[in-house]
Amino acid sequence: MAPHAGSLNAVEIRRLTRRFGPTTILDAVDLDIAQGEFVALLGKSGSGKSTFLRALAGLDHDVEGTGSLAVPERLSVVFQDARLLPWRNVIQNVTLGLPGARQQAGRKALAEVGLAGRESAWPIQLSGGEQQRVALARSLVREPALLLADEPFGALDALTRIKMHGLLRELCARHRPAVLLVTHDVDEAITLADRILVLDRGRFIEDLTVDLPGRRRHGDARFDAIRSQLLSRLGVDTDEREAA
């Protein structure tokens, strides 16, 4: 199910619908993601963002649904938990299921995420941030045309998360996969993405291009304007916004 030949889109979704029994989770959603485009998907819990990502990843086996979905063959998923096999060491986790000839690529990917020299460590010996970096290396070594990330930094502490943002941005700039990052963190979305979608009750209610050259940070008037707009779309009212 690759996108049409000659298309510049990595992902083409038409009228995608997903239901759990009587509840419609995704309601005839359309979306194109261009090659190399970094898209962040925001939404309250229960808005359907995980269902959407799982549909793209092909992990929604028993879910009723209709619509057409074209995603690249080379697709990697980063989960919220690093999901490393505890009985395989770091390099084996990175190259899991790859032919033996790709071992060298695994080492390179590990070096790219700053874990050169930790090849033979067991996952249990790594910190949460390091484990998530191994998971990133495992995704990158497959040279994905589409990277799906389901709240990949949600379980990390605030300082580690900032470092991981930098690393992810750097890696995406180098490898240029299309990215769909599901998150509930508005700042994370603005910091990382080219484009931000807001999902609400199974429909996109916002599709916003983030055009902020240079470093993105709080206090910058345009950053704050986007943040404010997104928060109101997510149903956070002004008082709560000021408290945040």
Binding site: L59, F79, W87
Partner: protein
Amino acid sequence: MTYLSGNGRGETALLERERRAAPAAPKSLEAPAIPAIRRKRRLGPGPAIPFGLQIGPAVLVLAWVAGSGLGLIDPRILPAPWTIIATFGELIADGRLQSNFLTSSVRALLGLGFGIVIGLLLAVVSGLSRVGEALIDGPIQIKRAVPTLAMIPLLILWLGLGETMKVTIITLGVIVPIYMHTHNALRAIDERYVELAETLRMSQRDFLLQVVLPGAVPGFLLGLRFAVTLCWVSLVVVEQINATSGLGYMIELARTYGQTQIIIVGLVVYALLGLASDGIVRLLERRLLSWRRTLAH
């Protein structure tokens, strides 16, 4: 403190706070001079005693030595330790201990070996395919409900009194825990890893070899520990029924002649075998499950 550089205000504040704190809390200033204070954990049983596990058995042996030496223990009930040691020597000298030990070990190892291979094969077939499960799981559950030792009369009629019968009984006993725990572990593979394997587009073969089978190793090893214990229990029983060789036979014969010391030698050998095999399984665990050990180990 007259000259202060660039961001001096913070420094002054800091110094002043220190100065103020100094006379008020002299004890806290002394504290770093005794850095080796390690506060005891308030809850829990406290630190481990060196050689703690050996103390209990040593006390028992000492009581035995003292009781026998002072004539408090009737040697017909429990012979003195030195009598046991002497009997050990005699049994080794005339070769009886070695030959009986060898016979028993061969039986136990054959039964254990067959049991592990068969139990493992059945568990893998039943754990990895629905058809296999439909065919295998039911019969094993029924087998589990029938104690192996209760099947001895039937097996004697089928297989006679020879070695085949004895090894078969041990094998039948060993199959059950190996099967149960391995099958359980194969079925309990975390669904998150299955999802991972799907997104990594792993082949069926890689999925089995990298995810399912290694993930089931802890379960298998647990089954193995039960199996080893069961193997010795079965051995003792089959050797006391119609056997003409083996440690169990040696003990049975000694009972007939009232040779308590030989019975005790036999029990000591059983104990050593049990300890040794448990040690081997634990060694295996340490090798195979090194990924579980944390940095603290």
